[in-house]
């Protein structure tokens, strides 16, 4: 997957969690949770969807690496290289 495809994947997952999510003013370096009004329960859905869709097992200690859109890309890029 390219970086843009990974971004789209994350946004698609978030849209699936909250179909009213507003991405227009999303800053890729700011925490997703604060900007999109997601709570920790919603956040777990991102992890679980990645697992369901791409068989990625993300250990709990790595969850903070999914905080922003750009950090998601950095973290997921090597894992989804061949996806």
């Amino acid at each position: 997957m390219t970086n843009d495809e990974i971004k789209d994947l994350i946004l698609e997952i978030i849209e699936d969690i909250d179909d009213e999510a507003d991405f227009d003013n999303l800053n890729p370096d700011e925490p997703l949770r604060d900007q999109l009004d997601l709570d920790s329960m919603d956040f777990l859905d991102i992890v679980m969807e990645l697992r369901k869709r791409h068989q990625l097992q993300i250990p709990e200690e790595d969850y903070p690496q999914l905080a922003t859109l750009n950090s998601c890309v950095n973290y997921l890029e090597p894992l989804l290289k061949n996806a």
């Binding site: 969690i17 909250d18 009213e20 009004d37 709570d39 920790s40 329960m41 919603d42 777990l44 859905d45 992890v47 679980m48 697992r51 369901k52 709990e60």
Partner: protein, 461 residues
């Protein structure tokens, strides 16, 4: 195939936990000892009608746009679109302390504020300070028991206002006598006064069907009539369960929603020592033909009353204590049009041990049930007006009834006074959710199932 997780108990917390898991993990198994789902919130048929067992009103009403509200968070977590559900909001509810004062509240929190300003003018500033405190307070942070009553007496100064505010919150969710934990108070204050009451369209059966169909469509399995007699363990690991039929089901994870003591029992452990009294309740249903609607108040959904002040919320000396109670008119929700019959429901505190003492003598037990129902009727008619001549069917549940059908120890609908907030009962792969985890009410118990699954099972399964 060995199920990755078994959930014991098909009440609302078990169903919510099951759906949450099944969204991501195939092969989840939900075990229910009865032939019907729902636990405390189930139904039965009498007099050619469906009667609900627990549901008066659901707390935590929220508008669709309020993303952080518990109701909307819950629906998101279960992936049940809000637009698939129709909710009916309450009209108005009332707290009545006979001969003392009355307070109205509704799903518009302003009403309660105006009522307090009007009837307790000396306490209104302190009440606003309390609201500020609650805004800053995190009720989910782990903390030891702190008396809500002592806290409120200190803040609000007026003991009548304190008791009046506590009365509905205790009746709808305190497992502790004459008090509640401050965290529990904060949760219930939000759930009842700030958010408010509603009902889903249809009956509890429709709501349970929606949940169970959703679980099944996600690939889950429901086994009814599957009573767990033993949780098989190896050290701190639960290996699986043995059913009454003798069948053994192995699993990687187990979630029990049947209560803490009840779970200890099937683990072969002794009950926890020194558990304070469990609170029992008696509930009566009076069914009336729809033509009786004009006899009853049109604008009251739930009425919480106390004939004595200070309000006592403890195990009665007798079978039942009708000096206080809850009266619910389930047809008085917005946009509900009853077809043939309506109901009046009453709830009072009851003593499990006194009912237990007479249960063996069927005649005495039935007679006591009838007497208690009459006693309830006489009191609630004071608040509703006379309607007894129109009753076409009536029934009463005692703590014994509730224990028999729900297997809740002592028929205590709010479970043990001691809560296990993190769901951890000392095992590597066995957790507790539901009533004894500490979130109460329908939305609360469902969020309990979801949050324990999120916290302990989904990240590891």
């Amino acid at each position: 195939m060995k199920p990755p997780c078994i959930i014991i108990g098909g009440g609302l917390s078990g169903l919510a936990a099951a759906i949450r898991l099944a969204r991501y993990i195939p092969g989840i198994v939900l075990l229910e000892q009865h032939t019907r789902l729902g636990g405390l919130n189930s139904y039965y048929y009498r007099n050619n009608t469906l009667l609900e067992t627990g549901l008066h009103a659901i707390t935590n009403y929220a508008e669709p746009g309020d993303k952080r509200a518990p109701l909307n968070r819950l629906l998101r977590q279960l992936k049940i679109p809000r637009k698939n559900l129709t909710f009916h909001q309450q009209i108005t509810s009332e707290i009545i302390f006979a001969g003392k004062q009355r307070l109205l509240f509704s799903n518009d929190f302003v009403l309660l504020q105006e009522e307090i300003a009007d009837k307790f003018p000396d306490s209104i500033d302190a009440f606003f300070d309390l609201l500020n405190f609650l805004d800053q307070f995190d009720p989910f942070a782990p903390a030891p028991f702190r008396s809500a009553k002592a806290f409120l007496l200190e803040r609000l100064a007026d003991p009548l206002l304190v008791d009046m505010l506590l009365c509905p919150l205790m009746y709808y969710g305190s497992s502790v006598e004459n008090d509640m934990d401050l965290s529990q108070f904060a949760i219930m204050f939000q759930a009842i006064y700030r958010e408010g009451f509603f009902r889903p369209h249809g009956t509890i059966r429709d709501f349970l069907t929606l949940l169970s169909d959703h679980f099944l469509s996600l690939g889950g399995e429901i086994r009814r009539g599957a009573k767990v007699t033993t949780i098989i363990q190896e050290g701190k690991r639960a290996i699986g369960v043995e059913l009454e039929s003798g069948e053994i089901l192995e699993s990687d994870f187990i979630l029990s929603t049947i209560g803490h003591q009840e779970t200890r029992t099937i683990l072969g452990q002794q009950p926890v020592d020194n558990e304070p009294n469990r609170l029992g309740f008696v509930e009566s249903i009076f069914q009336l033909p729809v033509e009786s609607i004009p006899l009853l108040p049109r604008d009251r959904t739930v009425m919480f009353y106390s004939e004595n002040f200070p309000f006592s919320y403890n195990q009665p000396v007798n079978l039942v204590d009708c000096r206080s109670g809850v009266i619910c008119l389930p047809h008085n929700f917005d946009q509900i049009t009853p077809e043939k019959t309506i109901e009046v429901r009453s709830t009072h505190l009851a003593s499990y041990s006194n009912w237990q003492a007479i249960r063996a003598d069927r005649l005495a037990y039935d007679k006591a049930k009838k007497q208690v129902r009459q006693q309830s009727l006489s009191v609630i008619e004071k608040y509703l007006g006379k309607f007894r001549d129109n009753i076409v069917y009536e029934d009463t549940f005692t703590p014994i009834t509730i224990e028999r059908y729900t297997a809740k120890r002592h028929g205590a609908i709010y479970g043990s006074p001691i809560k296990i907030k993190d769901g951890n009962i000392g095992y590597d792969n066995l957790y507790l959710a539901g009533t004894d985890q500490g979130f109460l009410g329908i939305v609360g118990s469902m969020l309990s199932g979801v949050s324990i699954v999120n916290q302990h099972i989904l990240p590891r399964i």
